[in-house]
Symmetry: C2
């Protein structure tokens, strides 16, 4: 059953911050919105060791634990790590967990800014945090990092984006259109009004096909790098890994996240002027691009970095493409940890 | 009506070579297979000026006329240009034009080798041609060129492939899976047993979305190159151009072509040994890669070229990616004509 996937039994323990009536950028007001999150480590007395780590598409706050550990850069013995869930993650307010009139296909569109406004309330109201040591994220987590650095420059001392842009490129929007259409094309999706997400298994499988074609790289398959991560055949990776990742998820949740990703644009707060938006950033800012990323190519990172004061651009080469962040091969895991260390000590 | 698209009124005049009962690689025998083709120019007395130009996916023999003209490299006053239609093009034997028991969804799988065997009969039986001045093609036309150069090395004096590989890479197969699944997901497709291809307009539109996401390049959208080819907005290109290209076509025809593309592999004739297959090539061989091609990246061309004796690899830079071949911007058109001139005089 898809619904179980979002349970604490699967996702691990997490907290909820009650937002109360919460008005979204769409104009809709969720009557009792909730922001799920989890923390690791302890906030110190000076409240200057808080690190915010929003998650990527199809992830939850649990996913970002992959970056964290004793002895690693993101060490909970040193930092207070706050892992918020996106709206639509299935843990924060989402199509899968919101009662009528905003249930399932009725759940409104959400934006990256909706997430960041909710996270801001969590940090200030719940923890009394006025400045973040660091905000960092991968992919949609990077989009949220951009929104944080532009919207609350005074609060963000350091920021790092991995494989993410300040405004979603058109080419990437087309890739999203394909993956969403594959999901929606399943008649069982029924415009978002299925009763059990398992009924939409065909749509979820098709959606996984689009991910298989964009998640790694040409080189990953050309050089059979899947062997290095324990697969005996390419199909085992493309069908096995990718399909099993998405199969337990809720299609409406995925579609709300994807629409948010597609519309991501920090220049919405400066009337469409991207340079002006990025000019607001005062953080020590790191832009990490993955050399073979098929979703967010290096060049888009170069363009963003050129508009950010003191931005440091780093290109990380790996055949894993967009999935470099998972650290599936040891070099990736080491490079990501080194990158995080550089950001945190900057 | 989709069926009209394949008429002489739309496609222009073309001939048919009757193959009679034709046994495909699948083992199925088409009782009365036909190979459509058209020629431009005249075969000289020595029969040494024949140039074969097979076409790309979703094209017909008419498409390749875009490369041909008086004063251009492929000048019909100088060469005898033979433009064959693929099986599945809609003009040669195809799901859309074959009677029961091989009509529509019953039409068997076809291979690149099936095409080349039929073309070989056309050349030898109809025209008495024993050697081809040149074989050249783009994309699936390039796959057929590879098959010619490997299968009939003694007949192919010069060959040029543009944006094509000797064996379809896994990454490219995944892209094909996405586009085919988008087409098949339309309930009106009915496993290939629709009565009117217009009924599958949703599937055809979705299939066009996949093409919009792979046909050009990140740079094409980043730098708004669509402005240079007369579009006022990115959507006008992605939805307008791409969708209108595919909308009149027959879904079964497209799917048979795509399956053929997906399975393309010249090493099938050498027991899976690609090096041995490419070692058979004796032609002056040109490999043209398009720098920003999202379907067939440069590196795959490098790998093929390294296995071909005397291969000349040329990388052509254009934001048009896989669509560089269309010559939609003047630099592309000039570069393609220069490339063809180099091949023909080699």
């Amino acid at each position: 059953m898809g619904a179980d996937y979002y349970s604490a039994a699967v996702q691990g323990p997490h907290e909820h911050f009650e937002l109360g009536p919460y008005t979204l950028d769409s104009g809709d007001t969720l009557p009792a919105a909730r922001l799920a999150y989890r923390t690791l480590g302890r906030l110190n007395a000076a409240k200057d060791n808080a690190v915010l780590v929003p998650h990527m598409y199809s992830g939850t706050s649990a996913s970002m634990q992959m970056l964290i550990g004793e002895g690693r850069a993101l060490d909970p013995s040193r930092y207070f790590l706050i892992l918020p869930d996106q709206f639509g993650s299935g843990l924060s307010s989402s199509p899968s967990n919101t009662p009528a009139p905003f249930d399932r296909g009725h759940f409104p569109a959400v934006t990256i800014a909706d997430d960041v406004r909710a996270q801001h309330r969590l940090l200030t109201e719940q923890f009394g945090i006025t400045a973040l040591h660091t905000v960092l994220g991968w992919s949609m987590g990077g989009q949220q990092t951009y929104e944080w650095a532009v919207r609350h420059p005074e609060m963000v001392l350091r920021a790092a984006v991995f494989a993410a842009t300040a405004k979603t490129p058109v080419q990437n929007q087309l890739q999203l259109d394909v993956q969403c259409e594959l999901l929606r094309a399943d008649p069982a999706f029924a415009d978002g009004f299925y009763t059990d997400s398992d009924d939409v298994h065909l749509g979820l499988s098709r959606h996984a096909m689009a991910w298989a074609a964009t998640s790694t790289s040409y080189r990953f398959f050309r050089d059979e790098v899947w062997r290095r991560i324990g697969f005996a055949a390419a199909e085992e990776f493309t069908l096995g890994f990718t399909r099993s990742h998405f199969q337990p998820m809720d299609p409406n949740n995925l579609l709300r996240q994807a629409a948010k990703w597609r519309a991501a644009d920090v220049s919405l707060c400066t009337g469409g002027d991207l340079k002006a938006a990025l000019d607001r950033i005062s953080a020590e800012f790191f832009v990490f691009a993955f050399g073979d990323d098929l979703l967010f190519p290096v060049e888009d990172h170069e363009r963003d970095a050129a508009m950010i004061r003191n931005a440091r651009l780093r290109v990380m080469e790996s055949p894993l493409g967009h999935f470099t962040m998972f650290g599936l091969i040891p070099e990736d895991a080491a490079a990501i940890d080194d990158a995080l260390a550089e950001v945190l000590k900057s």
